[in-house]
């Protein structure tokens, strides 16, 4: 939908360019000098009165209204589109340092950015302006501009400045016929990609309407023919007439809802566009990665980096410790340090694993694998057996019924459910350092003369034998009693 302001601006510019600026004769009514090319359409007049306001056009005498669909505007459009098929523009690199442009466009989440090197080259591009018309029993138009690098066929977003008069240069186009054809094909493909969804929806709607209409018509005529044949002996000729009518109606429906789309190339601009290349390095304590980016002088639009895992564009990439660039959705960070890995690293190397118990991610520095189940566990959920030294997950940890300490299930063997340490208790002399320490600390045990003792990597288990009750004591390597209890003597 064209806004009235756009329409007026266009018409004013048309007359400025082709004849003379509009002159307001009375409120809302302008005198327009007609260019030679337009005069035949207005009986040779060299000037007419025009208005953009329907009210003014209706009330003032001899005024031509300018509105979409009006005779005057149609003639102006005809005239304006007789020229201006192709022009050339030159867009030079701005003084902005590439590092500033890059820094404004690439903002990694976990790395610094630096431009190592940059260069500029002038690349011919072709800007194609297309008007797309889709029709069935209604009409939808689209205007699409596609800017294509004539060397690579790559599409680039056209800057608004490319549609202005200013960058024009009276130069020849620099793209040869083959280049033009290739760029046109690229532009057409890009255009198809843009409009495919809308065109499909439009066509499907028309098809649905056609189908409904055909069903209704077919059903009506089928029933009518049957009714005619059933009710009258002379119904055959009437039925034939109905069948002819049906064919006509069906043809009408097919014609009415037939989808037709046409792409018209309106005009083209060759744009000699400065394109800058920069080697950009992203770095942190675990990795360093250099990528090459390219942007044009018209938009200074650094294309977003592509996630190397899923291919999506991202302005805030993450540099993984494996050296990959990935989007925030495709990385996982260790829950115990700043280490980050992408999904590729995780899949290939298992770089980050979730704890089998709490699912918290843990990097190789913080994850342990259970010696029995081979599942990864975070530091909070892995258990190192004090007897055999195995690391096991919580499901392979068992508690000794005697010393009540946790060990791996291998070391707490059934049927007695006592640990290897408790099962290996041996007589200890009273001057055994561990026994002596207990006897000094606990006057009640100082007189006990019969001791048994066993140790593992973390605990020392002592039995002080009494007449009826024995005392079981567990001490840690510092000699602190972690458990003391009475047990029945044997």
């Amino acid at each position: 939908m064209t806004s009235p302001a756009d329409l007026e601006a266009f018409v004013r510019r048309y007359f400025e360019r082709r004849s003379a600026p509009l002159r307001e004769e009375e409120p809302g009514v302008f005198r327009a000098s007609l260019p030679e090319s337009l005069r035949p359409a207005f009986d040779g007049a060299d000037a007419i009165r025009i208005s953009f306001d329907p009210g003014a056009a209706a009330s003032a005498p001899r005024v031509d209204l300018v509105a979409v669909g009006s005779y005057l505007l149609d003639r102006i459009v005809e005239d304006a589109t007789r020229a201006g098929w192709h022009t050339v523009a030159r867009v030079e690199a701005p003084p902005t340092p590439p590092a500033d442009v890059v820094a404004g466009s690439i903002r990694p989440k976990n790395a610094t950015v630096a431009v190592d090197a940059s260069s500029t080259e002038t690349v011919p591009h072709l800007l194609f302006n297309f008007r797309v018309r889709m029709m069935s029993d209604e009409r939808v138009d689209r205007f699409e501009s596609v800017l294509v690098d004539s060397r690579t066929g790559k599409e680039r977003r056209p800057a608004a400045s490319l549609f202005e008069e200013r960058p024009g240069l009276p130069e020849d186009g620099t793209v040869d016929g083959a280049g033009i054809a290739a760029a046109y094909r690229s532009a057409c493909q890009a255009l198809e990609g843009r409009i495919a969804a809308d065109a499909t929806a439009f066509r499907e709607q028309a098809e649905a309407l056609r189908k409904a209409e055909v069903e209704r018509i077919t059903s009506y005529f089928d029933r009518s023919v049957n009714e005619v044949l059933d009710s009258r002996a002379s119904g055959a000729s009437e039925a034939r007439a109905l069948e002819l009518d049906r064919e006509r109606r069906l043809a009408e429906a097919e014609e009415k809802y037939r989808f037709a789309g046409e792409v018209e190339l309106c005009n083209v601009r060759t744009v000699l566009l400065d394109v800058m290349h920069a080697d950009v390095t992203l770095e942190h304590r675990g990795a360093r990665r250099t990528v090459r980016v390219e942007f044009d002088a018209a938009t200074l639009d650094v294309p977003p980096l592509r996630c190397e895992v899923c291919g999506a564009s991202t302005r805030e990439p993450v540099l993984c410790f494996g050296g990959h660039l990935a989007g925030p959705e495709c990385v996982s960070a260790c829950g115990f340090c700043d280490r980050v890995h992408c999904r590729t690293c995780i899949a290939v190397e298992g770089a980050i694993a979730p704890c089998a118990t709490c699912r918290r991610p843990a990097c190789p520095d913080h994850a342990e694998v259970c010696a029995l189940s081979r599942k990864p566990y975070c530091p909070d959920h892995i258990h190192a057996c004090a007897i055999c030294g195995r690391t096991v997950g919580p499901e392979y940890v068992a508690r000794c019924v005697s010393c009540e300490q946790a060990y791996c299930v291998v070391c707490v063997a059934p049927p007695a459910e006592r640990c290897q340490t408790c099962r290996s208790l041996a007589v200890a002399p009273p001057d055994d350092p561990a026994v002596a320490a207990i006897r000094r600390r606990d006057p009640g045990l100082a007189k006990v003369t019969k001791w048994r003792r066993a140790s593992n990597q973390r605990f020392t288990v002592l039995i002080a034998k009494g007449l009826v009750w024995n005392q079981l004591l567990v001490t840690d390597p510092s000699g602190t009693v972690v458990l003391q209890k009475k047990v029945l003597g044997t």
Binding site: L7, A58, G69, G84, F163, E192, G261, L265
Partner: protein
């Protein structure tokens, strides 16, 4: 037609046409089928294959580059075929643009930008808004009309029965839809079928209000030549025209007074059904007049199957023995909403009442004597004139009689011309000369005197209608002499002068003196008093006069003063229109429907004149009485239909009622 003797006049016309075409080297083929309906010998340059069905297109794209002349093979490199969107084509013209670039053509950037911006204009995205509204001139459109047009285009996909009550502007609604389709490039070939009496009116309205230059069809070879055509349905159904119409394909077909298609066994119905079209509008204020089968026929014409087959329709909606009352009214309305829009006056328009004041005039003695003498002359000569060359004289007599009802000033000039016309016999011219002398000698006018009294008494602005320019000038002189500021409005003014006249009246002048030219297309509802200085014999013209003030925007009671002279034909007009059918109380458009129900082949004017020229007074009164009864019956018939349709449709089919 084969084997019949051709009409010599028609054959001569065909020969002349062919000779012209042959001379222009457009075609000289001998008919190889010998089946020409006109002459039996030559095919009228009918192509062997029907022309391709016109595909509605957007306004033609701009011409390709003027010097685009590369060989097709040179352009082949620039061809591209869509791969992702079936049905999408890349215009072959694109190659011409690319060839320009390849050939090194470089245009001025300013031209390039103008071209680009020109192509940005008027992009459409379905029927989101009506693009045509700013382009409609000289007519105010209302919200319900815009709603109607949008609903026709969006929901009904361009096929609808526009069944607004009378006076709500079905023509405007149809015009908006039509213009919209044209502006959007969806319609190029359009056919309007109307009753013969409305052909010219439709043509004029389409031209002046919608800028659509329709051609009135009367030559069968014109059908293919013109894209915008209007024809009376009677002309169109004649074999020679019908075959041509059926051969063509139209984007839009509009049928006015579509209740004439109520019977699907008639030629009218079959003609419209057989025309190939995409969009169709059927206009009628009375979609059902007698029974529901009429409704079925109308809807089936538009969208067969909407109301099922006739058997299905009968089973679902018709009561045994009562063809007028639907068995399932809710369901019927639901289905009708898919195809019909009926806006009702009571929901979209609230107009103040009309107050009518007949002002009887007694002519002065010289005026009376002259009126009687002229009438005697007319009565004496009228029956004799009528056929062939004398029909001109008959027309002159009618004009003279009408002018006598306006003023002697108007009649005097006509009498002068008649007395000098060789069309009249020497004896007649002697009589006419005498009448002219007497008319020219009369300087007083009773009606004018009464008008001056009225104007002096009426405190508001007043519109005075007269049919004749000479009467208008005399009245202007008199009223200005009385100190009134007077605006005049007639067909001799330029558009600017007309505007200035209306503006002066709106901004200050007391009196607006207008001929019939002021009766159409001007909004004068800031004034509420209309004086009919003379009464047109065509009641629709009277209605048009009143319609200038009795329309949307009028807030005060409308006062209508009818000046009429006793013992003149105007007394008959008043008798028939005011006393019999109470015409001045009908709403705009209803009168047409009443008159449409007359079983009368002649026009109202012709019937009136026939009665008036009966010499015997008793028989004349008798004829007048008979015609009055016919009018009354027509009005009653109309009232009955109106009340039936009110019950049948209610308010459920209004545009804003939604689908």
């Amino acid at each position: 037609m084969r084997g019949e003797t051709p009409d010599p006049a028609l054959a001569a016309r065909v020969e002349a046409l062919l000779a012209g075409l042959i001379a222009a080297n457009l075609g000289a083929a001998e008919c190889d089928r010998g089946d020409c309906e006109a002459c039996g010998r030559l095919a009228i340059l009918e192509p062997d294959e029907p022309p391709p069905a016109p595909t509605p297109e957007a306004p033609p794209p701009p011409a390709p580059p003027a010097d685009a002349g590369p060989a097709p093979e040179a352009l082949a490199a620039f061809a591209y075929e869509a791969t992702r969107v079936p049905g999408l084509t890349f215009s072959p013209r694109n190659a011409l643009v690319l060839a320009k670039i390849r050939d090194g053509v470089v245009d001025d950037p300013a031209d390039w930008v103008l071209h680009y911006k020109a192509r940005l204009l008027g992009l459409q995205s379905g029927f989101d808004v009506l693009l045509s509204l700013p382009l409609i001139r000289g007519v105010r459109h209302y919200a319900y009309q815009v709603d109607t047009a949008l609903r026709v285009l969006r929901t009904m996909r361009g096929r609808a029965i526009l069944a607004d009550e009378v006076g709500l502007g079905k023509t405007i609604e149809a015009g908006i839809v039509l213009k919209e389709l044209v502006v959007r490039g969806l319609a190029r070939k359009i056919l309007i079928l109307t009753p013969a009496s409305l052909v010219a009116q439709w043509r004029e309205e389409m031209e002046t209000k919608f800028g659509l230059p329709f051609e009135i069809m009367d030559e069968f070879e014109d059908w293919a030549r013109h894209d915008l055509v209007i024809s009376s349905i009677d002309t169109a159904k004649r074999d020679v025209h019908r075959e041509e119409i059926q051969r063509l394909a139209y984007d839009v077909v509009i049928v006015d007074e579509a209740h004439k298609l109520k019977n699907r066994t008639t030629k009218n119905w079959k003609l419209v059904a057989s025309v190939r079209k995409k969009y169709m509008l059927l206009l009628t204020a009375t979609p059902v007049q007698n029974d529901l089968e009429e409704l079925f026929n109308l809807v089936t014409l538009l969208r067969p199957g909407t109301l099922s087959s006739f058997g299905g329709f009968r089973r679902r909606f018709l009561r045994r023995g009562d063809p007028r009352t639907p068995a399932n009214p809710g369901e019927l309305k639901r289905l009708l909403r898919e195809v019909m829009i009926r806006n009702r006056r009571s929901t979209v328009l609230v107009l103040p009442p009309r107050r009518v004041f007949p002002a009887e005039i007694v002519l002065s003695r010289p005026e009376r004597k002259l009126y009687e003498a002229v009438t005697d002359f007319v009565r004496d000569r009228y029956p004799a004139y009528g056929r062939g060359s004398t029909s001109v004289n008959r027309l002159a007599l009618i004009v003279l009689q009408k002018e006598m009802g306006s003023s002697t000033f108007a009649a005097a000039e006509t009498l002068r011309r008649m007395k000098e016309s060789p069309n009249f016999a020497y004896e007649d011219r002697l009589v006419l000369g005498d009448l002219y002398e007497r008319a020219a000698a009369i300087t007083e006018n009773e009606k004018a005197r009464r008008l001056r009294e009225l104007i002096a008494k009426i405190p508001d602005k007043t519109i005075v209608f007269t049919q004749y320019l000479r009467t208008l000038h005399v009245l202007r002189t008199m009223l200005e002499a009385d100190g009134h500021a007077v605006s005049v409005f007639h067909g001799g003014l330029t558009p600017g002068e007309k505007e200035a006249s209306v503006r002066a009246f709106r901004e200050g002048n007391r009196v607006f003196l207008s001929t019939e030219a002021g009766g159409e297309g001007r909004n004068l509802q800031f004034c509420n008093t209309v004086v009919n200085f003379d009464l047109p014999w065509n009641p629709l013209k009277i209605e048009q006069r009143i319609g200038r003030v009795h329309r949307i925007g009028q807030t005060r009671d409308v006062v209508i003063v009818n000046l009429w002279a006793r013992d003149t034909i105007e007394e008959y007009v008043m008798e028939l229109l005011d006393k019999k059918i109470n015409m001045f109380q009908l709403v705009i458009g209803e009168l047409d429907l009443v008159l449409g129900r007359l079983d009368e082949a002649k026009t109202f004017e012709e019937v009136l004149m026939d009665i008036w020229t009966v010499k015997d007074l008793a028989r004349r009164r008798e004829e007048l009485q008979r015609f009055g009864e016919e009018l009354l019956a027509a009005r009653q018939k109309y009232e009955s239909t109106k009340s039936y349709e009110e019950g049948l449709f209610g308010n459920d089919l209004a545009a804003e009622a939604g689908p």
